[in-house]
Symmetry: C2
Subunit: 337 residues, 2 copies
């Protein structure tokens, strides 16, 4: 086992699309746990779209990453040394220590992971932040009713491929998604309960496509993407529609902010619809309910999930960039050890 802790730091704030050179891999001595502390060796870490926002300097948003400082984010690991009775060697915890080999904790900010319940990496995936994002972001904001038409943009992503299944379980019909490849279209319709999906890179008349697949209008829109696709969904909103704004990945890497038609905002008035943005921590008090329900659906075979695992901490920036590019299939993770 290495005596070195490799840590990714932010070398520069990305301008437009991130490059690997925006990140530095530095080496530090492996940290040693003090009294009451324990040492965790990272097994998997998570790269997620919201991290792109944290790389900007934007007042009011989730705290920005600092240049030269470690990049944090979801990670899960094994306790390999411990001076804390509550956290024994051999146990697993997840937390937000991010892109590095090791983490020292006194127990605050981490939660134990039961490896017998589900593979440990689900704690930073389907049973973690992305899963809770799908569960509460869809149910609490879109408030689906049986027979509602649900549309999900970024439908094959870590969150989107779960939202479709949750929508189906709640009786939405049809459940429709957009994604970035024909292979993803097949995956969504064969394995994730989507009634229909289309490839936004080749089916570019979004207005017509959404209208064709959602002929009675969209009642529930779960938006991971924004931009022109969202314009098309807004033009097709049903009366009293509910829009949950989870992410806007089409907008994160623009060098210049885009403009769009003001008619989208007007559609909220015309359709008497609502749109609400959220970040998942606002639901954190209810996470136990969400985790219990999602775990039950998996056990009952009502839900599938998909992981896209890249091997090696040193490839984390590449995993992050390919995820922003939509090259991942399901939840993008990095296997560290």
């Amino acid at each position: 086992m290495s005596e070195v802790n490799r840590v990714f730091t932010l070398a520069a704030r990305p301008v437009g699309f991130p490059k690997e050179s925006d990140f530095n891999l530095i080496e530090e001595p492996k940290p040693a746990p003090g009294d009451g502390e324990f040492l965790v060796r990272t097994k998997y870490l998570s790269v997620d779209p919201y991290m792109r926002g944290r790389m900007n300097e934007q007042p009011g948003y989730a705290a920005s990453f600092e240049i030269g400082k470690a990049i944090n984010g979801g990670a899960v690991g094994e306790i390999i040394e411990s001076n804390n009775d509550k956290f024994a060697v051999g146990g697993f915890v997840h937390g937000n220590w991010g892109w590095q080999d090791y983490h020292v904790s006194d127990g605050s900010g981490v939660l134990p992971v039961d490896p017998d319940l589900a593979p440990i990496q689900t704690s930073i995936g389907v049973l973690g932040m992305p899963g809770m994002t799908a569960y509460f972001g869809f149910l609490d904001i879109c408030k689906p009713k049986p027979g509602d038409c649900a549309f999900v943009s970024g439908a094959a992503g870590a969150v989107g491929h779960l939202v479709g299944q949750i929508a189906k379980i709640h009786g939405c019909d049809p459940v429709v998604g957009s994604c970035g490849s024909d292979e993803k279209v097949e995956y969504l319709t064969q394995h994730c309960g989507y009634d229909a999906a289309f490839n936004y890179k080749t089916d570019t008349n979004y207005m017509a496509k959404v209208h064709e697949l959602c002929p009675k209008g969209v009642d529930c829109y779960f938006d991971n993407v924004g931009g022109k696709l969202t314009d098309a969904v807004f033009a097709n909103l049903a009366l009293f529609a509910r829009v949950s704004i989870c992410g806007l990945i089409s907008q994160y890497n623009l060098k210049q902010p885009e403009t769009g038609p003001r008619t989208s905002y007007m559609m909220l008035l015309i359709r008497q619809a609502s749109a609400q943005g959220f970040m998942v921590p606002q639901f954190s008090k209810k996470f136990p309910e969400g985790i219990r329900q999602m775990a039950e659906w998996f056990k009952e075979g009502k839900m599938n999930y998909r992981e896209d695992i890249m091997d090696g901490l040193e490839h984390t920036p590449r995993a992050f960039i390919r995820m922003l590019n939509g090259e991942n299939k399901g939840k993008q993770l990095v296997k560290v050890s």
Copy 2:
């Protein structure tokens, strides 16, 4: 009393800003009430921004007016002939018969008006559609809490000058509005409980102005206007802000739809805020509560209202156009008889 019923019809769908030539004043024989019917002579009629939308041919919106057909909208009148025991001659009713001298009814679609409760024209103003729009559109959607900053665009209009007072009664602080003249600024701050207001025609750096007047961000935004002013308010939304979209008068008379920054939509995500469009009939079951409460506030002197009355049915298009231009001070009405 004339034996002729003068009726305004839509001559042409306005392109951009309406002109008086978009309307025709035709003459019909005064209608006669049949069995169970009664004849109403219009006393006042209402011209409102939403009517501009109905002049377009736009699928999904409130039913469009038809070319050559009478323009309907709020009106109040006196029963002058009756074959219906429940509606005696000398009584008053309000309904939606619109821009004409007379109306025959069997009682459906009209409601009695008590002239002792308040001046009869309040039934199509502060205690009618505009009043209910202010009351439920603000309270049910903006969900104000004491200490919230409330911002109202179109603050001196029929709805806006009421919203500010309702916000103040509910403890909002500060209550800030935008309007189209210095005289209106003074009216809002002297008589309508606004803590501050500005003239959007002369104070054109909206971003800086909203930030100056709402330094902690806008918690409750009641939007009558849309466009650039709304961009500025969105840029200054507080965390978990609520936006009630009542109208978008800046957008109704454009020949070509405008574009605007997509960052406004992103602000809903960044501030975890919500925006909801509404039309007041969705609250109609609760109107009795709203009317009772508003009437009580007037009686207690907690609320003022303002009317801008033009004399003569023949001037209705002019009243409508000046209202769209923002030349009215308070609720624009037309006195017909």
